[in-house]
Symmetry: C2
Subunit: 174 residues, 2 copies
Protein backbone atom coordinates (compact mmCIF):
# COMPACT_ATOMS: atom_id res chain seq x y z
CA UNK A 1 0.00 0.00 0.00
CA UNK A 2 1.33 3.41 -0.93
CA UNK A 3 1.32 5.91 1.91
CA UNK A 4 -0.23 9.27 1.19
CA UNK A 5 2.06 12.26 1.59
CA UNK A 6 0.57 15.52 2.80
CA UNK A 7 1.90 18.61 1.02
CA UNK A 8 1.46 22.06 2.56
CA UNK A 9 2.75 25.28 0.99
CA UNK A 10 3.73 28.41 2.91
CA UNK A 11 3.87 31.76 1.13
CA UNK A 12 4.49 35.27 2.46
CA UNK A 13 3.49 37.98 0.02
CA UNK A 14 2.72 41.66 -0.33
CA UNK A 15 -0.88 42.80 -0.87
CA UNK A 16 -0.15 42.73 -4.60
CA UNK A 17 1.05 39.14 -4.55
CA UNK A 18 4.82 39.65 -4.72
CA UNK A 19 7.14 37.48 -2.67
CA UNK A 20 10.41 39.38 -3.17
CA UNK A 21 12.18 42.02 -5.22
CA UNK A 22 14.16 39.48 -7.26
CA UNK A 23 14.93 35.78 -7.00
CA UNK A 24 18.21 36.68 -5.29
CA UNK A 25 16.74 39.04 -2.66
CA UNK A 26 16.75 38.14 0.98
CA UNK A 27 13.36 37.69 2.59
CA UNK A 28 13.98 40.36 5.21
CA UNK A 29 10.75 42.34 4.81
CA UNK A 30 8.29 39.91 6.37
CA UNK A 31 7.07 40.31 9.93
CA UNK A 32 8.57 38.65 12.98
CA UNK A 33 5.15 37.13 13.63
CA UNK A 34 5.14 35.41 10.24
CA UNK A 35 8.67 34.10 10.81
CA UNK A 36 7.67 32.70 14.19
CA UNK A 37 4.55 31.13 12.72
CA UNK A 38 6.59 29.45 9.98
CA UNK A 39 9.29 28.16 12.32
CA UNK A 40 6.67 26.73 14.66
CA UNK A 41 4.76 25.16 11.76
CA UNK A 42 7.83 23.49 10.30
CA UNK A 43 8.30 21.42 13.46
CA UNK A 44 5.35 19.35 12.28
CA UNK A 45 6.98 18.43 8.95
CA UNK A 46 9.37 15.67 7.98
CA UNK A 47 10.95 17.62 5.13
CA UNK A 48 10.84 20.90 3.21
CA UNK A 49 11.16 21.57 -0.52
CA UNK A 50 12.71 24.73 -1.95
CA UNK A 51 14.11 25.97 -5.23
CA UNK A 52 17.82 26.64 -5.65
CA UNK A 53 17.47 30.43 -5.22
CA UNK A 54 15.54 30.03 -1.99
CA UNK A 55 18.09 27.50 -0.81
CA UNK A 56 20.97 29.91 -1.43
CA UNK A 57 19.22 32.67 0.51
CA UNK A 58 18.43 30.48 3.52
CA UNK A 59 21.11 27.77 3.30
CA UNK A 60 22.24 28.14 6.89
CA UNK A 61 18.90 27.22 8.41
CA UNK A 62 17.77 24.87 5.63
CA UNK A 63 20.79 22.59 5.79
CA UNK A 64 19.87 21.64 9.32
CA UNK A 65 16.57 20.25 8.03
CA UNK A 66 15.58 17.44 5.72
CA UNK A 67 15.57 19.68 2.68
CA UNK A 68 14.93 18.81 -0.94
CA UNK A 69 16.36 21.41 -3.31
CA UNK A 70 14.99 21.59 -6.84
CA UNK A 71 17.78 22.42 -9.23
CA UNK A 72 18.45 22.08 -12.93
CA UNK A 73 22.17 21.64 -12.18
CA UNK A 74 22.05 17.92 -11.37
CA UNK A 75 20.76 15.00 -13.40
CA UNK A 76 20.70 12.31 -10.76
CA UNK A 77 19.76 13.29 -7.23
CA UNK A 78 22.70 14.15 -5.01
CA UNK A 79 22.71 13.92 -1.22
CA UNK A 80 24.77 16.18 1.03
CA UNK A 81 24.06 15.66 4.74
CA UNK A 82 20.33 16.13 5.23
CA UNK A 83 19.99 18.01 1.94
CA UNK A 84 19.03 16.33 -1.34
CA UNK A 85 19.56 18.15 -4.62
CA UNK A 86 17.16 16.92 -7.24
CA UNK A 87 16.14 17.80 -10.77
CA UNK A 88 12.36 17.30 -10.96
CA UNK A 89 12.64 16.84 -14.72
CA UNK A 90 14.83 13.78 -14.27
CA UNK A 91 13.76 12.34 -10.91
CA UNK A 92 10.43 11.32 -9.50
CA UNK A 93 9.85 13.59 -6.52
CA UNK A 94 7.11 11.48 -4.99
CA UNK A 95 9.27 8.34 -5.15
CA UNK A 96 12.13 10.08 -3.40
CA UNK A 97 9.86 11.34 -0.64
CA UNK A 98 8.33 7.88 -0.20
CA UNK A 99 11.74 6.22 -0.13
CA UNK A 100 12.66 8.52 2.74
CA UNK A 101 9.34 7.81 4.46
CA UNK A 102 8.42 11.49 4.55
CA UNK A 103 4.73 11.85 5.38
CA UNK A 104 4.41 15.59 5.80
CA UNK A 105 6.22 17.88 3.37
CA UNK A 106 6.33 21.69 3.49
CA UNK A 107 6.78 23.62 0.24
CA UNK A 108 8.60 26.90 0.78
CA UNK A 109 8.96 28.30 -2.76
CA UNK A 110 9.92 30.11 -4.91
CA UNK A 111 7.25 30.51 -7.60
CA UNK A 112 8.41 27.66 -9.87
CA UNK A 113 8.44 25.24 -6.95
CA UNK A 114 4.96 26.26 -5.76
CA UNK A 115 3.80 25.90 -9.32
CA UNK A 116 5.32 22.45 -9.75
CA UNK A 117 3.43 21.07 -6.76
CA UNK A 118 0.18 22.78 -7.68
CA UNK A 119 0.14 21.56 -11.28
CA UNK A 120 1.16 18.04 -10.27
CA UNK A 121 -1.71 17.78 -7.83
CA UNK A 122 0.68 17.72 -4.89
CA UNK A 123 -0.50 20.74 -2.94
CA UNK A 124 -3.17 20.02 -0.37
CA UNK A 125 -3.07 23.13 1.78
CA UNK A 126 -1.78 26.64 1.37
CA UNK A 127 -0.92 29.18 4.06
CA UNK A 128 -0.64 32.70 2.70
CA UNK A 129 0.65 35.49 4.88
CA UNK A 130 -0.20 38.91 3.50
CA UNK A 131 2.09 41.65 4.75
CA UNK A 132 0.68 45.20 4.50
CA UNK A 133 2.82 46.46 1.62
CA UNK A 134 2.47 47.07 -2.06
CA UNK A 135 5.61 46.45 -4.09
CA UNK A 136 4.22 47.13 -7.63
CA UNK A 137 6.97 44.93 -9.04
CA UNK A 138 9.03 41.86 -8.11
CA UNK A 139 8.68 38.09 -8.04
CA UNK A 140 5.08 36.80 -8.17
CA UNK A 141 3.81 34.04 -5.84
CA UNK A 142 3.32 31.52 -8.62
CA UNK A 143 4.87 31.55 -12.06
CA UNK A 144 2.94 29.29 -14.37
CA UNK A 145 3.51 29.16 -18.11
CA UNK A 146 -0.17 29.57 -18.79
CA UNK A 147 -3.27 30.90 -17.08
CA UNK A 148 -5.07 28.29 -14.97
CA UNK A 149 -7.95 28.43 -12.55
CA UNK A 150 -7.23 26.36 -9.47
CA UNK A 151 -10.03 26.59 -6.97
CA UNK A 152 -9.32 26.83 -3.25
CA UNK A 153 -11.46 26.90 -0.13
CA UNK A 154 -10.72 29.34 2.66
CA UNK A 155 -10.39 27.53 5.98
CA UNK A 156 -9.45 30.41 8.27
CA UNK A 157 -8.25 34.00 8.61
CA UNK A 158 -6.01 35.14 11.43
CA UNK A 159 -4.49 38.52 12.26
CA UNK A 160 -0.84 37.98 13.13
CA UNK A 161 -0.15 41.44 14.58
CA UNK A 162 -1.56 44.91 15.03
CA UNK A 163 0.05 46.34 11.88
CA UNK A 164 -2.14 44.36 9.55
CA UNK A 165 -0.30 41.15 8.75
CA UNK A 166 -2.88 38.46 8.08
CA UNK A 167 -2.63 34.72 7.65
CA UNK A 168 -5.01 32.93 5.29
CA UNK A 169 -5.35 29.18 5.32
CA UNK A 170 -6.71 27.50 2.19
CA UNK A 171 -7.47 23.95 1.16
CA UNK A 172 -7.03 22.92 -2.45
CA UNK A 173 -10.52 22.39 -3.90
CA UNK A 174 -9.59 21.81 -7.56
CA UNK B 1 -8.54 77.09 -0.91
CA UNK B 2 -7.96 73.86 -2.79
CA UNK B 3 -10.45 71.14 -1.93
CA UNK B 4 -9.01 67.76 -1.08
CA UNK B 5 -10.06 64.91 -3.32
CA UNK B 6 -10.44 61.46 -1.79
CA UNK B 7 -9.11 58.61 -3.93
CA UNK B 8 -10.16 55.03 -3.24
CA UNK B 9 -9.01 52.04 -5.31
CA UNK B 10 -10.97 48.82 -5.77
CA UNK B 11 -9.19 45.64 -6.84
CA UNK B 12 -10.45 42.08 -7.22
CA UNK B 13 -7.67 39.54 -7.42
CA UNK B 14 -6.84 35.86 -7.14
CA UNK B 15 -4.91 34.57 -4.10
CA UNK B 16 -1.75 35.00 -6.16
CA UNK B 17 -2.46 38.64 -6.95
CA UNK B 18 -3.68 38.36 -10.55
CA UNK B 19 -6.57 40.46 -11.75
CA UNK B 20 -7.22 38.82 -15.12
CA UNK B 21 -5.84 36.46 -17.73
CA UNK B 22 -4.84 39.26 -20.11
CA UNK B 23 -5.59 42.98 -20.40
CA UNK B 24 -8.35 42.14 -22.88
CA UNK B 25 -10.08 39.48 -20.75
CA UNK B 26 -13.51 40.06 -19.36
CA UNK B 27 -13.75 40.18 -15.57
CA UNK B 28 -16.25 37.32 -15.42
CA UNK B 29 -14.58 35.20 -12.76
CA UNK B 30 -15.24 37.34 -9.69
CA UNK B 31 -18.04 36.56 -7.27
CA UNK B 32 -21.50 38.05 -7.41
CA UNK B 33 -20.92 39.31 -3.86
CA UNK B 34 -17.88 41.30 -4.97
CA UNK B 35 -19.80 42.75 -7.91
CA UNK B 36 -22.64 43.80 -5.61
CA UNK B 37 -20.21 45.33 -3.13
CA UNK B 38 -18.52 47.34 -5.90
CA UNK B 39 -21.77 48.59 -7.42
CA UNK B 40 -23.04 49.67 -4.02
CA UNK B 41 -19.73 51.36 -3.17
CA UNK B 42 -19.63 53.32 -6.42
CA UNK B 43 -22.84 55.12 -5.52
CA UNK B 44 -20.79 57.13 -3.04
CA UNK B 45 -18.36 58.42 -5.70
CA UNK B 46 -18.49 61.38 -8.04
CA UNK B 47 -16.34 59.78 -10.71
CA UNK B 48 -14.35 56.68 -11.58
CA UNK B 49 -10.97 56.35 -13.32
CA UNK B 50 -10.04 53.42 -15.55
CA UNK B 51 -7.46 52.54 -18.17
CA UNK B 52 -8.43 52.13 -21.80
CA UNK B 53 -8.47 48.30 -21.65
CA UNK B 54 -10.76 48.31 -18.63
CA UNK B 55 -12.96 50.87 -20.35
CA UNK B 56 -13.30 48.70 -23.45
CA UNK B 57 -14.29 45.68 -21.36
CA UNK B 58 -16.92 47.56 -19.33
CA UNK B 59 -17.87 50.43 -21.66
CA UNK B 60 -21.59 49.80 -21.42
CA UNK B 61 -21.78 50.39 -17.69
CA UNK B 62 -18.95 52.93 -17.48
CA UNK B 63 -20.34 55.33 -20.01
CA UNK B 64 -23.33 55.93 -17.79
CA UNK B 65 -20.99 57.24 -15.07
CA UNK B 66 -18.63 60.18 -14.78
CA UNK B 67 -15.68 58.22 -16.08
CA UNK B 68 -12.14 59.35 -16.74
CA UNK B 69 -10.34 57.04 -19.15
CA UNK B 70 -6.55 57.09 -19.19
CA UNK B 71 -5.32 56.63 -22.73
CA UNK B 72 -2.17 57.31 -24.69
CA UNK B 73 -4.28 57.88 -27.81
CA UNK B 74 -5.19 61.52 -27.09
CA UNK B 75 -2.98 64.52 -26.41
CA UNK B 76 -5.59 66.98 -25.15
CA UNK B 77 -8.44 65.64 -23.05
CA UNK B 78 -11.54 64.75 -25.04
CA UNK B 79 -15.07 64.67 -23.63
CA UNK B 80 -17.79 62.34 -24.89
CA UNK B 81 -20.99 62.52 -22.84
CA UNK B 82 -20.03 61.79 -19.23
CA UNK B 83 -16.74 60.18 -20.29
CA UNK B 84 -13.45 62.08 -20.47
CA UNK B 85 -10.50 60.57 -22.33
CA UNK B 86 -7.25 61.88 -20.95
CA UNK B 87 -3.54 61.26 -21.38
CA UNK B 88 -1.98 61.56 -17.92
CA UNK B 89 1.36 62.33 -19.52
CA UNK B 90 -0.04 65.47 -21.12
CA UNK B 91 -2.84 66.56 -18.78
CA UNK B 92 -2.96 67.27 -15.08
CA UNK B 93 -5.35 64.71 -13.64
CA UNK B 94 -5.89 66.53 -10.35
CA UNK B 95 -6.72 69.78 -12.15
CA UNK B 96 -9.31 68.07 -14.31
CA UNK B 97 -10.95 66.45 -11.30
CA UNK B 98 -10.99 69.78 -9.41
CA UNK B 99 -12.42 71.62 -12.39
CA UNK B 100 -15.29 69.13 -12.40
CA UNK B 101 -15.67 69.49 -8.64
CA UNK B 102 -15.21 65.76 -8.07
CA UNK B 103 -14.57 65.13 -4.38
CA UNK B 104 -14.62 61.36 -4.25
CA UNK B 105 -12.94 59.40 -7.00
CA UNK B 106 -12.86 55.61 -7.38
CA UNK B 107 -9.93 53.99 -9.17
CA UNK B 108 -10.91 50.79 -10.92
CA UNK B 109 -7.72 49.69 -12.69
CA UNK B 110 -5.94 48.15 -14.51
CA UNK B 111 -2.44 47.84 -13.08
CA UNK B 112 -0.93 50.93 -14.74
CA UNK B 113 -3.79 53.08 -13.49
CA UNK B 114 -3.54 51.77 -9.92
CA UNK B 115 0.19 52.37 -10.13
CA UNK B 116 -0.19 55.91 -11.41
CA UNK B 117 -2.33 56.93 -8.44
CA UNK B 118 -0.16 55.13 -5.91
CA UNK B 119 3.10 56.64 -7.10
CA UNK B 120 1.59 60.13 -7.37
CA UNK B 121 0.41 60.01 -3.78
CA UNK B 122 -3.23 59.94 -4.90
CA UNK B 123 -4.41 56.71 -3.35
CA UNK B 124 -5.83 57.03 0.13
CA UNK B 125 -7.68 53.78 0.56
CA UNK B 126 -7.60 50.39 -1.08
CA UNK B 127 -10.25 47.69 -1.10
CA UNK B 128 -8.89 44.31 -2.16
CA UNK B 129 -11.24 41.43 -2.80
CA UNK B 130 -9.44 38.10 -2.80
CA UNK B 131 -11.30 35.40 -4.68
CA UNK B 132 -10.34 31.80 -3.77
CA UNK B 133 -8.40 30.92 -6.93
CA UNK B 134 -4.82 30.62 -8.01
CA UNK B 135 -4.15 31.58 -11.62
CA UNK B 136 -0.33 31.14 -11.70
CA UNK B 137 -0.18 33.60 -14.59
CA UNK B 138 -1.98 36.69 -15.88
CA UNK B 139 -2.14 40.41 -15.21
CA UNK B 140 -0.75 41.51 -11.81
CA UNK B 141 -2.59 43.97 -9.54
CA UNK B 142 0.03 46.69 -9.89
CA UNK B 143 2.64 47.06 -12.60
CA UNK B 144 5.38 49.38 -11.49
CA UNK B 145 8.61 49.84 -13.39
CA UNK B 146 10.64 49.29 -10.25
CA UNK B 147 10.30 47.64 -6.87
CA UNK B 148 8.87 49.97 -4.21
CA UNK B 149 7.70 49.45 -0.66
CA UNK B 150 4.48 51.28 -0.01
CA UNK B 151 3.21 50.69 3.48
CA UNK B 152 -0.49 50.16 4.18
CA UNK B 153 -2.55 49.71 7.30
CA UNK B 154 -5.27 47.08 7.45
CA UNK B 155 -8.58 48.61 8.52
CA UNK B 156 -10.89 45.60 8.25
CA UNK B 157 -11.44 42.08 6.95
CA UNK B 158 -14.83 40.83 5.80
CA UNK B 159 -15.97 37.49 4.43
CA UNK B 160 -18.17 38.16 1.42
CA UNK B 161 -19.58 34.65 1.02
CA UNK B 162 -19.26 31.06 2.20
CA UNK B 163 -16.87 30.01 -0.57
CA UNK B 164 -14.00 32.06 0.79
CA UNK B 165 -14.14 35.42 -0.96
CA UNK B 166 -12.70 37.99 1.41
CA UNK B 167 -12.63 41.77 1.33
CA UNK B 168 -9.65 43.61 2.82
CA UNK B 169 -9.76 47.33 3.45
CA UNK B 170 -6.45 49.18 3.71
CA UNK B 171 -5.41 52.75 4.34
CA UNK B 172 -2.29 54.12 2.69
CA UNK B 173 0.33 54.56 5.42
CA UNK B 174 3.33 55.51 3.26
Amino acid sequence: MKSKIKFVAYVAASIDGRISESSHSKIDWTSEEDWNFLQKSLKKFDAVVVGSHTYKIAEKSLKKRNTIVFTSKVKKSKVSGSVTFLNPEHSNVRDLLRKNKYRRVAILGGPEVYNFFLKNNMLHELFVTIEPYIFTSGVPMFSGKKFEKYRFKLLSIKKLNGRGTILLRYKNAS
